[in-house]
Amino acid sequence: MSIDTATAAKVAKLARIKVEEAELPALAQEFNAILGFIEQLEEVDFEGVEPMVSVTPQRLKRREDVVTDGDQPAKVLSNAPDAREGFFSVPKVVE
């Protein structure tokens, strides 16, 4: 498996991380080194083995779908880079 600059650009886009054009070849090379290391996994015979979901046999606990902790908009917004009138504020999303 070899990652080219176009793939690196696509991955950066999917991850929503801006990568300058000039940095893509180095990034692709790093991906190749790491993925090359990961490819050792192809040697393993895992016939009949299910992918692990949880290391402990316990089932995830569930609770009723009700509000247990709410009504604190000021606290929720207190760390926002931009908040107005009780809402998070972002650049225009819809034209």
């Binding site: 990034l27 083995v49 929720v76 760390n79 972002v90």
Partner: protein
């Protein structure tokens, strides 16, 4: 009493109860030590006023006859734990200015038990790293030095600030977190004790998430006894974490008898790596002999899938990180990039994340994005999860054959020079080669200092235990610690 900051938790607890010392005095000693140790880069955010308030409250509590073990004990908290009203930024620029409105369950348990938070400790950004060189605060430095050299050494990562602070007596103990070895490797590099509990023992609620199926908080202390004391105070069921185990936490300290007669200690042949330094081989052989002399039965065992643990980890951890770190988008908290005219929300996300994350975090988020992307999910992510199941099975098999604990080296070398391994990510990943299997299998593991390398740097061994049996594991660690008699401290240069 002089040098109060050098006390262990057990010593300080006993002195507090007897009235020989106050928490205010202990706290002042630590604050003085911290202010004189800026060269170590261990503390990222100091909270002296909060510490003094808590110390006074602890003294009042002790006077009133209500003194849990941790009451009045000054500790450092890794910056990965959210602490109410105190900067908590996982050593990342993207959480610049973030002051949580809530307290993580683990730091809250320590606070409620009366312990005194001295401040927030340096770490690798988002706990990604094995050398504490990816922090936005700059490097944390190991208080130990190699021979006559004055080169700065790594305290290990990602809990490098915690390890450095405990080793240099800036606090009596500290919290750490361990996703692939981030408590045990820095403990080994600094001559301290670090426990990664069984997955689910400590609540992860309020701890900045890296890889949710692997992350686990634990204590970093000067002795095994202190690990038993502080560990018990950190553990326990939390309804806010759906993976938290609803099991009672035993009195670990009471289990430290040092009697391990008849226990079976497994020595896994797969941990004997090609090119392993002679001194690590020797350390391991000496540790094995110590446990044998203490009455344990030594048995050669096989964990055949060990070799595949690191590659599996470097699929699973980035995959989970890419998902967990999707929340850092400049909308709800932390850093937001400046916009250019005409920028929309996508540009805001992309610029914020490009400027807010450091190089290693970006690398792992993108690797995670890649291995989860359509067309590669089965080839990478599902394959790694299958290998993980096999690694867990290896451990289940040896425990089923009657092995009580497994002894391995903690790290492939002593602490290395800062800047030495940064250029090659894969080379850096190999630092976790002995610890990462434990996270994949969800088991408890503890690093104990047992010797020195030829340049006078501490070296540690790792003991791995059965799930939920931290008490038995710590008792074995206690026997090893007692036999090794490691008492060296770094010579002060800072």
């Amino acid at each position: 009493m002089s040098d109060l900051n050098k006390l262990t938790i057990a010593e300080a607890r006993d002195a507090l109860r007897k009235g020989d010392v106050t928490s205010v005095e202990l706290t002042e000693a630590c604050l003085t030590a911290i202010d004189a140790a800026d060269a170590l880069g261990a503390f990222a955010h100091k909270t002296p006023e909060l510490a003094m308030d808590r110390a006074k409250a602890a003294d009042a509590r002790i006077k009133a006859g209500d003194a849990p073990d941790m009451c009045g004990i000054p500790v450092g908290i890794k910056d990965l734990f959210c602490t109410e009203g105190v900067a908590s930024q996982a050593a990342s620029r993207i959480l610049e200015g973030f002051k949580p409105e809530y307290e993580s369950t683990v730091s809250g348990k320590l606070r409620d038990a009366g312990s005194v938070m001295l401040g927030k400790l340096n770490m690798d950004e988002f706990a990604m790293g094995s050398s504490n060189e990816t922090s936005v605060y700059g490097n944390a430095i190991n208080p130990w030095r190699s021979g006559n050299s004055d080169a700065a050494l790594t305290p290990g990562g990602s809990s490098g600030g915690s390890a450095s602070a405990v080793a240099a007596d800036l606090c009596l103990a500290a919290t750490g977190t361990d996703t692939g070895g981030s408590i045990r490797q820095p403990a080994a590099f600094t001559g301290t004790v670090g426990l990664k509990p069984t997955y689910g023992r400590c609540s992860r609620w309020g701890i900045v998430a890296f890889a949710s199926s692997l992350d686990q908080a634990g204590p970093m202390t000067k002795t095994v006894r202190d690990t038993a004391i502080m560990g018990a105070a950190m553990m326990g069921h939390d309804p806010k974490d759906s993976t938290s185990a609803d099991l009672p936490v035993p009195d670990f300290e009471a289990m430290l008898t040092g009697d391990i007669k008849g226990n079976v200690i497994g020595i896994p042949k797969e941990y004997r790596m090609d090119g392993m330094p002679d001194e690590i081989e020797k350390l391991w052989a000496e540790g094995t002999a110590m446990l044998k002399d203490a009455g344990a039965e030594i048995r050669d065992i096989s964990l055949p899938h060990t070799k595949y643990a690191l590659p599996a980890y470097y699929v699973i951890a980035p995959a989970e990180a890419s998902s967990n770190l999707a929340r850092y988008d400049g909308v709800r908290f932390g850093y937001r990039a400046e916009m250019a005219p005409g920028d929309g929300i996508t540009e805001m996300y992309e610029k914020t994340r490009a400027e807010g994350f450091g190089a290693e975090v970006k690398r792992r988020v993108m690797i995670g994005t890649y291995v989860l992307s359509a067309g590669f999910y089965d080839a990478y992510y599902n394959r790694a999860r299958r290998v993980r199941a096999l690694i867990k099975q290896d451990f289940d098999d040896v425990f089923a054959q009657g092995v009580d604990a497994i002894l391995t080296p903690a790290t492939p070398s002593a602490a290395f020079e800062l800047g030495k391994e940064v250029s090659d990510p894969v080379e850096m990943y190999l630092n976790d080669v002995f610890t990462v299997t434990v996270n994949l299998a969800g088991l408890p593991g503890v690093a104990v200092p047992t010797g020195m390398d030829r340049n006078g740097l501490p070296l540690g061994l790792q003991l791995i235990g059965r799930p939920w049996e931290e008490g038995e594991l710590l008792n074995t660690a206690y026997a090893l610690e007692s036999a090794a008699g490691f008492v060296e401290k770094p010579a002060r240069w800072w």
